[in-house]
Amino acid sequence: MLLLLLGIIVLHIAALVLLFVSTIVSAWSVGREYTSDLWTNCSSSASGYHCETAFTGEWIQAVQAPMILSIIFSFISLFLFFCQLFTLQKGGRFFLTGVFQILASLFVMSGAIIYTVMSPTWVPQSESYGFAYILAWVAFPLALISGLIYIILRKRE
């Protein structure tokens, strides 16, 4: 029982950490000496490393918002898990925790999809997707599985 609890918490925190890294590090698009999105464009040219704020379009903001929301919802889900751990009746399901975690995963998915579809309008063709973008796509199934586990899980003695 304790092992199961530990495993679930580790999964949840792993998804949360991935969300954090994916949102904070500005490496959704990378080029030769150029990383950009979501927050800054950094380029290391002959005159050194130089960062400026990213292109302030409508779509990049529509990616920033779901990523931040997913972090918030994942945090709320973790908090609710610990609340429900101590207040739920025996046999009860961690329904609320699971709902928030699944909402967080849906937000990551929508953010990543919006970025995939709309980024060609401002990112040059020579650039490829960076590791923060990939982490977002990895965090989505992790959070989804974590949320589903919460919904299926029943509180035992």
Partner: protein, 219 residues
């Protein structure tokens, strides 16, 4: 000793006065955004310890984006406004400032993409002639881009607001139904609630707390 203190403070004030005598602070904006074809007002005002003298003067100069030198485009002195004939703004510039109120703003009409650049305002208020000028950057757009973070904040605020609303409505419904259940159970004795609403909820939730602590100690 008090006399020395008085003399010292007076001398200090004198030196304070003389060091600030030539420190004028000019204020313009930092950056201005405008649409093609529109007019823009570039404001310039200054702070000075002295009264506004009748010889107050304003000078505007312009440095295009990418150029190294700036050209003078406007000068106001002795109650007269002069627009430089050779500047690209000679027929589009209008002085709308009020020098007696320390305002040296100009309006540039019918902007074009070639007007992108840095405008520097230099104000002098004799005998306050020191201090540095201030620059404002002009950016001309085809359509004004949305500011960073507006949409982000709106989406986040809307979703969190919706969440708060749902929670409030849920608890409100519980409270209202609880009140109705309570008043009903007074008239009908054996009304067994599901345990979710009403005062029975409170009694039902206490035992699990005990069982939880018991099982945790057994673990």
């Amino acid at each position: 000793f008090i006399c020395y203190l008085c003399l010292y403070s007076v001398v200090r004030l004198q030196t304070f006065d003389t060091t600030d005598q030539s420190a004028i602070v000019v204020y313009t904006g930092w950056e201005r955004h405008a649409l093609v074809g529109s007019d823009i007002r570039l404001s310039c005002s200054f702070f000075s310890w002295r009264w506004t003298s009748p010889d107050v003067s304003f000078s505007w100069s312009y440095r295009p984006d990418g150029a190294r030198d700036s050209i003078a485009i406007f000068h106001y002195a002795n109650g007269e406004a002069y627009v430089a004939k050779k500047s690209p703004f000679w027929d589009r510039l209008e002085f709308v400032g009020n020098p007696s109120r320390r305002d040296g703003s100009i309006v540039i009409k019918n902007l074009d993409f070639s007007d992108n650049g840095t405008f520097t305002c230099d104000a002098k208020n004799p005998p306050d002639i020191g201090g540095s000028a201030s620059s404002v950057r002009l950016l001309v757009f085809e359509n004004v881009p949305i500011q960073a973070g507006v949409i982000t904040g709106a989406i986040i605020g809307a979703v969190l607001g919706l969440l708060v609303l749902i929670v409030v409505i849920y608890y409100l419904m519980r409270f209202l139904v609880a009140r109705r259940v309570f008043s009903l159970s007074v008239s009908k004795h054996g009304k067994k609630g599901k345990g979710k609403e009403g005062s029975q909820q409170r009694q039902a939730s206490v035992p699990p707390l005990y069982t939880v602590t018991l099982t945790h100690s057994s673990l």
